[in-house]
Symmetry: C2
Subunit: 408 residues, 2 copies
């Protein structure tokens, strides 16, 4: 099982009556969750009419969902309509919750969301994690996680799943292993080996993937197929296709940083020439902006500051990066035909200066199909995306399969 993949029908394998029940529980829960909280809340009869089940079936399903703590029956509402008023249903804001954890290069984070998807608690501590032993870092994360679990209990929440966002490669196969995280100096770290409590070991997932999923899950009107570009030290893209994260055959999909944008361009560390990273990577932009020997501190913040001040070399460097990124994204649009493109990670902070040139390049080169400049937009969540995505992963799993919750 992989983060972000729905657990339904493994495409082969027989269907059982439990599967049917599972899906119908998910459908009913999804109907309540997908309903605008501003509108009049849904009753059992409303749900039945909306999803196409009978009132009797919905009643039974709702009872089970209430028993599992996924739904609550709110107070009766003065509907104003004729007939017996329905009993308002709402996704529970107590009970099940998802815990997201994050290891960044310079910080640790934690986030707690309830089943409605609402964040209920955030924690962030600054830590220089690069090069430290994985066990040491994980011990601190575990302490943070324990504090959050305590806070969850105080809020009446029960943590049902734990996902850890890491800036590294997490293989497709389960096992809780971070294959490598260059910016942390990790290689082949098994989370379970360093976690104090075997019952609360989190599942690792790549932070860029989680950021993309958060962007998708958090959108009011979600775009089902989009490319989420995320630049930290490298440049990666997460592909969300039909609402699901696409990892590629071996988990390497979305390697945007090494697309050949100028085939005869400068050599890249990867061995090829003219890769996108040579134009739009952090090191390349800093070099071009004359900031290669910047002091300590956040390089991205420095770039944003200089660009905001109108520093010509910085502006030129960002323009050059934007045009190269536009070239790479042209290839992505031609191949994948996404509904949208999202600039996340460091690019979100630099969007003001990147967007014009990226959009111009796309407009000039994406000509054989309709393409709206607004389809490219900066991330709405910015740097909080991965952590939120980690927490929401558990929520979305439960929404897709409410039987994951213990029966009441």
């Amino acid at each position: 099982m992989t983060v972000g993949m729905a657990s339904r029908s493994a495409s082969s394998g027989p269907a059982s009556q439990q599967d049917m029940r599972r899906q119908n529980l998910a459908v009913v829960l999804g109907a309540v969750a997908g309903h605008s909280p501003l509108a009049r809340p849904l009753s059992r009869a409303d749900v039945a009419g909306r999803v196409g089940l009978t009132r009797a079936a919905v009643s039974s399903l709702v009872d089970e969902l209430i028993g599992r703590g996924a739904l609550t029956e709110a107070a009766a509402t003065a509907s104003g309509r004729v007939g017996r008023p329905g009993r308002a249903l709402a996704v529970s804001d107590e009970g099940p919750a998802g815990l997201g954890l994050e290891i960044g290069v310079t910080h640790l984070g934690a986030c707690l969301v309830d089943l409605r998807g609402e964040p209920r608690a955030w924690r962030r501590v600054e830590r220089e994690n690069a090069g430290r032993p994985a066990g040491e870092v994980l011990a601190e994360v575990a302490a943070l996680a324990a504090a959050m679990e305590a806070e969850a209990a105080a809020l009446g929440l029960r943590v049902e799943g734990r996902i850890l966002a890491v800036p590294g490669v997490v293989p497709n196969e389960p096992g809780g292993v971070v294959e490598r995280a260059p910016n942390l100096g990790w290689r082949g770290v098994r989370l379970a080996d360093h976690w104090p409590d075997a019952d609360t070991v989190p599942e690792p997932e790549n932070e860029a993937n989680l950021g993309a999923l958060a962007e998708y899950w958090n959108a009011g009107q979600p775009v089902e197929t989009f490319v989420h570009v995320s630049a930290e030290t490298g440049i990666g893209a997460a592909l969300v296709i039909d609402g699901r994260l696409f990892r590629g055959a071996r988990g390497f999909a979305g390697e945007l940083g090494h697309l050949p944008v100028h085939p005869d361009g400068p050599g890249c560390a990867c061995g090829a020439r003219g890769c996108l990273e040579q134009y739009a990577g952090e090191a390349a932009v800093l070099r071009e902006a004359g900031l290669a020997e910047h002091g300590p501190g956040d390089a991205v913040a420095l770039l944003a500051e200089r660009a905001g001040a109108g520093h010509p070399p910085t502006l030129a460097a960002l323009d050059r990066a934007g045009r190269a990124l536009g070239l790479a994204l042209t290839s992505a649009v031609d191949l994948i035909d996404p509904d949208g493109l999202v600039l996340g990670g460091a690019y979100a902070d630099l969007a003001d200066w990147l967007l014009p040139s990226v959009r111009a390049e796309l407009a000039a080169r994406v000509t054989v199909r309709p393409w709206a400049p607004e389809a490219l937009r900066p991330s709405a969540l910015g740097r909080r995306g991965p952590l939120l995505g980690a927490a929401l992963t558990t929520v979305r799993r439960i929404m897709a399969d409410p039987t994951l919750l213990p029966a009441g």
Copy 2:
């Protein structure tokens, strides 16, 4: 409903017991179909053990499948094993069949396959279809189709679905419309408007997509995620992701021909610069090979002939095309991480001269992940792919949902 998409669980919508039955019918049928015909045929008990249903359930499902004509009970086999021998099950080679039709620029085609996926009849007639009125061409196709239906009846086959492969754009939405087919001169052609018999109107689908699906369905050990490049007049790619055709948000996915391989290269008719088609398109290769004013006849055959004869400008043109194609495919590999790349259409006929340079370019540029040169291979089906894919589409739909067949 779209060609090549499984009809199962529309992801939302409640599950019914019919859905469960449908899936289990498909699972049982799939187990029989997926079994090597060389090995001892499967019995009901074998199927039960393999798919995880009980013998009683499989018995009921098999009975229904036999009733619908999807399975047959073969003669008893001398198994040589102890115990009561099982009754051999086989996918029926009578009854349900799929009819594939094809309109090419210079020919019409038809193909009949039985439920095992075996071709049972082929027809091909040479016709210059470019520029002729759509109604005239479709009338000839309909005549061809009628002849095939008669042949099907003679073979004891019943045509359960009709798909028409066209060299053009078919929108995602159903409706039987060919939005445009530049090489035929078609625009907004509704098949139903020109078909003599309303009961046998075929469903149109892009030939490159069908070629890719045929490649997938026909493979012994199918690669689940691959890119099928197909060059005719333009250069297109069909993306098969997790065994399903991926069309993109608006049906424009796989537009490989306009990937910017040399951003400052020659201008393209699309308005951009340095598109792949300027290097690897038919017109560009012919021009580079000094064959721009070739006489009548198949330009691809001409290129193959000259290349086979060692004609230096042709070899240079193909090498240049191959390197450009390798660049574009590098982007595809980086983004999608496919298990394989297939060269189809005209490229299949030119594979001998294209493969080396494409592979070299990929080897030099795909460095941040494992990449085997053999993952790029020419199409096994070549020019027959689209027609076979059209015929197989119906078969795969029935395999995915045997209740499409009339009950016996």
